[in-house]
């Protein structure tokens, strides 16, 4: 009881210096980003569930329309996002060894891969819009455009976050002792990647006549 009270009665003024042991710190990054990530995953989860339920009700339409999607560019984009995540993971590993310049290079490579995703996605959207496809075309395209565009916006946000982390890394803002900000950005980026890894097979690939 006394211990609890003494813990809460820290001096109210001045910054509280807390040393965070790198290995024991879990989840990585700021707790707030994990609340945010969970909310994001919930949003995509609801979207995926709605897609799945609607697909069982419009199986023929979904199977037919799915064949019109550009699976090759989707596959390349999957590779790009996974590569980007790998680069970001390498960047975090490098900063843990106090190697800021290597870390910044890995981040830069990750950002390039992410930008590659954006370019390919834009080409894909351009092709679809040129065919006159829009949200009101049919329920499959409604989901295709909504889901991929919602994810697209997350890639943009993730890239913006990585860009800020990259700049700060180049300026020497992170070190082996203090890189919580980088881990926060990396965690968010991995979420963007994870969602695509589910989205791509779900919308582009999984194809069955029975609906299961």
């Amino acid at each position: 009881m006394t211990e609890v009270i003494s813990n809460t009665q820290q001096p109210a003024k001045g910054p509280v210096v807390v040393s965070i042991p790198t290995k024991a710190h879990y989840p990585p990054g700021d707790l707030a980003i994990w609340v945010f990530i969970l909310a994001e995953l919930l949003a995509f989860g609801v979207f995926f569930a709605a897609y799945a339920i609607t697909r069982t009700n419009h199986l023929a339409l979904f199977n037919e329309m799915q064949l019109n999607l550009d699976r090759r560019s989707g596959a390349i984009n999957t590779g790009l996002l996974i590569t980007a995540s790998w680069c970001v993971a390498r960047a975090v590993a490098a900063i843990k060894e106090n190697n800021a310049s290597t870390s910044a290079r890995w981040l830069g490579a990750g950002i390039l891969a992410g930008l590659g995703f954006i370019v390919i996605k834009l080409v894909e959207y351009h092709d679809k819009l040129a065919l006159g496809i829009n949200l009101a075309s049919n329920i499959f395209y409604m989901f295709y455009l909504s889901l991929t565009f919602f994810h697209f916006m997350h890639v943009l946000l993730g890239l913006a976050i990585l860009g800020i982390v990259w700049l700060k890394t180049r300026r020497g803002g992170y070190s082996a002792q203090e890189h919580s900000g980088m881990e926060t950005g990396a965690s968010y980026w991995h979420m963007v990647d994870l969602v695509w890894v589910i989205l791509f097979p779900l919308v582009y690939v999984i194809h069955s006549p029975t609906g299961l």
Binding site: A32, F36, A39, M142, S146
Partner: protein, 457 residues
């Protein structure tokens, strides 16, 4: 109070509470008219009572937001207000405009009021919540611009904090989205479509930024938790709020002539709108649990925690109840909407304004906190109003469910008026709850006049 110019907030808070009383009295009048149809007819017809009830609410909340901003911004910016005189001047203009508008509603038939006030020049009247005559609407714009100028200049010349910037973003958004009240296309689908850009994007968009900023400010003050921690959570909350709230506008676009995809976008994103409110509740309790000081103003802390919980219940849970399009198909235009409206407005916006008043008024009146006796009286007000609004919500929800059942699910559906006759009991219970609410409001106001006595152990 650290800056003299903060005292201007007192005018806004006082007027806000006066209009709050008017709002509740007219609410009781129309609540009685639900069951005694010709009560006060023809002096105060139902539509007029309703207009005063809703418009008074909006105006007193705006007064509360402005007062909160005039108190909060100098303290955050660490400088006196850019122009206290301007703040006082716009107060009197705003109050006069509000009083004249209410008198216009009460004394002139609405169609006549429209003719008198130049609605022919630019037709904007006759739409729910935006009933104000053209001169009032223009007055609101002028007052808002002068207010924003004053607040923005204060922030520009002083310290910029996340709280004041989020507040400023919310207040600018409030003014910008109000401009859609001047856009009144002939096409009724477009009319409704853009009407929601004011109504929805206020309460489920920019107002939530104002709410978050005020709550964060009071929590920093009463808990002494590090600003960095509180601001971080504020960012998470407003991001979630904006994403879910803006796209969630789609839950008003189900069957009004808009494309079908809104049923999906509206359902999915508005179903997620409770999340930022839930985070806000966790945030409030977490900060109070981690407090580093015991602030003598217990009542303000109670209001802050109450805001978190009741906003989550009213805006979050009661909103979710009827937000999915297949559910809304049955519940649209029933008392379930009214139930949500009551608990959401009270839980989110009434309570956050009262939180700010509770925190700031004692300081403006020259003390850290009110006497123990005054705080106890204020807490009576808190509990009576909170519990009675919960009962109002439950009774209206019951009336709504019965309405859906009798008129829309039954094998032998009743007409609208026949369903209303079946729900009379709930309307009586709602009216009784409303009287208890008035009692709570009286206790609340009484707390301002409690004679100061030394706090007793």
């Amino acid at each position: 109070m650290q800056y003299r110019s903060q005292a201007v907030a007192k005018y806004y808070f006082t007027a806000a509470i006066a209009l709050f009383v008017a709002q509740i009295l007219f609410g009781l009048i129309m609540g009685l008219q639900y069951v005694v149809g010709d009560f006060l007819f023809p002096a105060i017809p139902f539509n007029v009572a309703r207009m005063v009830h809703t418009n008074a609410l909006i105006v007193w909340l705006l007064m509360g937001f402005m007062g909160a901003a005039y108190y909060l911004v100098p303290e955050e910016a660490e400088t006196e207000l850019f122009s206290p005189k301007l703040a006082l001047g716009t107060f009197w203009v705003f109050l006069a405009a509000a009083a004249l508008t209410v008198l216009g509603y009460l004394m002139v038939p609405y169609a006549g009021l429209a003719k008198m006030t130049g609605n022919d020049l630019l037709p904007t009247m006759g739409r729910e919540f935006l009933e104000q005559p053209l001169p009032t609407k223009l007055g609101i714009v002028v007052v808002a611009l002068v207010f924003l100028f004053n607040i923005s200049m204060t922030i520009l010349k002083g310290r910029k904090t996340a709280i004041s910037l989020v507040l400023l973003m919310g207040l600018w958004g409030l003014a910008i989205f109000f401009l859609f009240s001047f856009y009144n296309p002939d096409n009724i689908v477009k009319d409704k479509y853009y009407w929601w850009w004011t109504v929805h994007l206020w309460v489920e968009g920019v107002w939530e930024l104002i709410l978050g900023a005020i709550l964060a400010f009071v929590l920093i003050k009463v808990t002494g938790v590090d600003r960095e921690v509180i601001e971080k959570w504020l960012y998470v909350i407003i991001t979630l709020t904006l994403i879910t709230g803006i796209i969630g506008t789609g839950h008003h676009y189900y069957w009004i002539g808009t494309p079908e995809y809104w049923q999906w976008w509206g359902s999915i994103f508005s179903a997620l709108e409770p999340i930022p409110f839930f985070v806000m509740t966790l945030f409030a309790f977490n900060m109070v649990n981690r407090r580093r000081r015991e602030h003598p103003n217990k009542a303000a802390t109670l209001w802050a925690l109450g805001t978190g919980v009741m906003a989550f219940l009213g805006a979050g849970v009661w909103g979710f109840l009827h937000t999915l399009s297949p559910v809304n198909y049955y519940t649209h235009g029933t008392q379930i909407t009214a139930a949500h409206g009551h608990l959401a407005f009270f839980g989110a916006y009434v309570m956050v304004v009262l939180t700010m008043i509770s925190y700031a008024m004692p300081l403006i009146r020259g003390r850290a906190a009110n006497s123990n006796r005054a705080q106890v009286m204020e807490m009576w007000g808190f509990w009576l109003m909170t519990i009675s609004i919960v009962f109002i919500t439950l009774f209206l929800t019951a009336a709504g469910i019965l309405h859906v059942w009798l008129q829309r699910m039954s094998a032998h559906p009743l007409s609208f008026m026949d369903t209303q006759a079946q729900t009379v009991l709930f309307y009586w219970l709602r009216e009784i709850s409303g009287l208890v609410f008035l009692g709570g409001l009286v206790a609340y106001i009484w707390s301002f006049f409690c004679k100061d006595e030394p706090a007793q152990a």
